[in-house]
Subunit: 297 residues, 2 copies
């Protein structure tokens, strides 16, 4: 089965203690799609401007990523500029929405056979628009950010009520549910409808919470973090990419999806932009999978 | 085999968002000894004043804890008063060393058969004095705090060079080794001599690092944290108490010791002072042990 990923596609200018890049390939859909493409065919749905470099388009297509749902509109591509003073937080210097301001996601005919969907971090109204276009999907996941939780929590809730899998980081889910504990927060979120809540804890890994179980996984150790941008997106992409090929959401499948998401997120932050996602292979992913199993069991 | 624990014995006045207690039983040796007593016979080495309540002494003795090394000196018992505004940090309101100011630890004759030692968080000079008194010990562990790492790092290093097991939290070990990564920090610490470094990460659990392996374990979830005092001491006590009864430091033994330390620390923070340590039993510890295995493997 294939996976549809809807989200931002952009050009990032990023400064970290390790260096900087300008107009590098980025966006939640791009990080997610490259991560997922290791495991499954991916359809990317998003918008870019006429200035979007052809080399970026080629890179995306080289990874089994279908671009029928990628619109090129007159104008400039979405741009983000951020500075990391520490690894847990980026100061946004500027955000230029450009063609992304009028983005209205439309799923192309060619992805009608897909049964998995990852709604990247975009306005919940857009996420709801996408949910109106799907039918009989097996795995539907969504990611968000504190900006939407603060700005339109009721809309975020509407999305959550219609998805099966929720990705949130610990601060976001505490804020969203007004809880001090991520465990209480996850249970409150599950009560809204989803089957699975994945609480991301940055360098401390994640907890996957279902109605009757937890699964704790540490982050895969990274000696030299280079650029944290897209860690959450590549985690979700790796998770959903693996899940898209599985027949059922068993505990074993969930654990393996979590390990793959964790490993790919760690690979991603070890280089700028999507550089490492573009070059990683299954051999190095499986080596790290064996490490993680050894280090946690 | 039995375990010797050297450290502070005190009366704590603690204020947390959940309430407060005055002159409650506390101190690193007490938390450690009560935690360890679940698994092994314990010899506590420390000092109290003449005002030390008899009921506290009785509680200690009721838990298979030998007090031959507990001196009662003229004067008042060590007192600490702290306020927790959040769960990760206590503001110290006052510290009265009292009889603890002249503490010179002496291991009693009766504990000569012991082969395990836990050096609780006290001045590294005192820890070195204890190390001079032991011979042919199988497991020797030490705990410390940022106060000693800042004040006398060279002395902390001297202790580390003579112990097999190091307990430090992540900020402490980064500071001590001048490293950004706990993994680098742990390797630098191992290079000083110890076989095992346990990096404590508070609510995120811990990582046990040896020369050729990691073991990651999350904290056991606690819905209602009441009083974090003694979390690290009870973790170390539970770990060392279990280890004291084991013939070798195998990976399986290390993992089980880490789970027991984790579980007992979680029980401890769910009540004020040592209340929960005093009442916990092996049935509830084993239930949580099964949970941890299920949630991590």
């Amino acid at each position: 089965m294939s996976l549809v990923i809807v989200g931002s596609i952009g050009l990032d200018t990023i400064v970290t203690p390790m260096g900087q890049v300008s107009d590098a390939l980025g966006g939640s859909a791009v990080y997610g799609a490259l991560a997922a493409s290791t495991f499954t065919d991916v359809f990317i749905v998003g918008v870019v401007g006429e200035d979007f470099p052809n080399k970026h388009l080629q890179l995306i297509q080289q990874h089994k990523i279908n671009i029928d749902g990628l619109k090129v509109e007159p104008g400039k591509t979405f741009r983000w500029k951020g500075v990391y003073h520490d690894w847990n937080h980026a100061d946004t210097i500027s955000t230029e929405l450009n063609v992304f301001a009028d983005f209205a996601p439309v799923l192309p005919e060619s992805c009608k056979s897909c049964r998995s969907l990852l709604l990247g971090n975009i306005h919940p109204d857009l996420q709801l628009q996408v949910l109106d276009q799907i039918d009989h999907y097996q795995y539907v996941a969504f990611d968000t950010m504190n900006y939407w939780i603060t700005g339109c929590p009721e809309k975020v809730k509407k999305v959550i009520e219609r998805v099966g899998i929720v990705f949130m980081n610990e601060d976001e889910i505490k804020q969203f549910t007004n809880s001090n504990s991520i465990f209480t927060a996850a249970q409150k979120t599950l009560a809204m409808g989803p089957k699975l809540v994945i609480v991301k804890r940055g360098e401390y890994g994640c907890v996957v919470v279902s109605a009757d179980s937890y699964y704790f996984l540490p982050a895969y150790p990274v000696e030299n973090v280079c650029d944290p941008t897209g860690a959450g997106d590549s985690f979700a992409g790796g998770f959903m990419g693996y899940l898209a090929g599985q027949n059922e959401l068993s505990l074993d499948v969930i654990k393996q999806a979590t390990r793959y998401g964790t490993i790919i997120a760690a690979l991603n932050v070890s280089s700028f932009s999507v550089d490492r996602l573009a070059t990683m292979d299954m051999v190095e992913i499986q080596t790290r999978n064996i490490d993680l199993i050894k280090w946690t069991t």
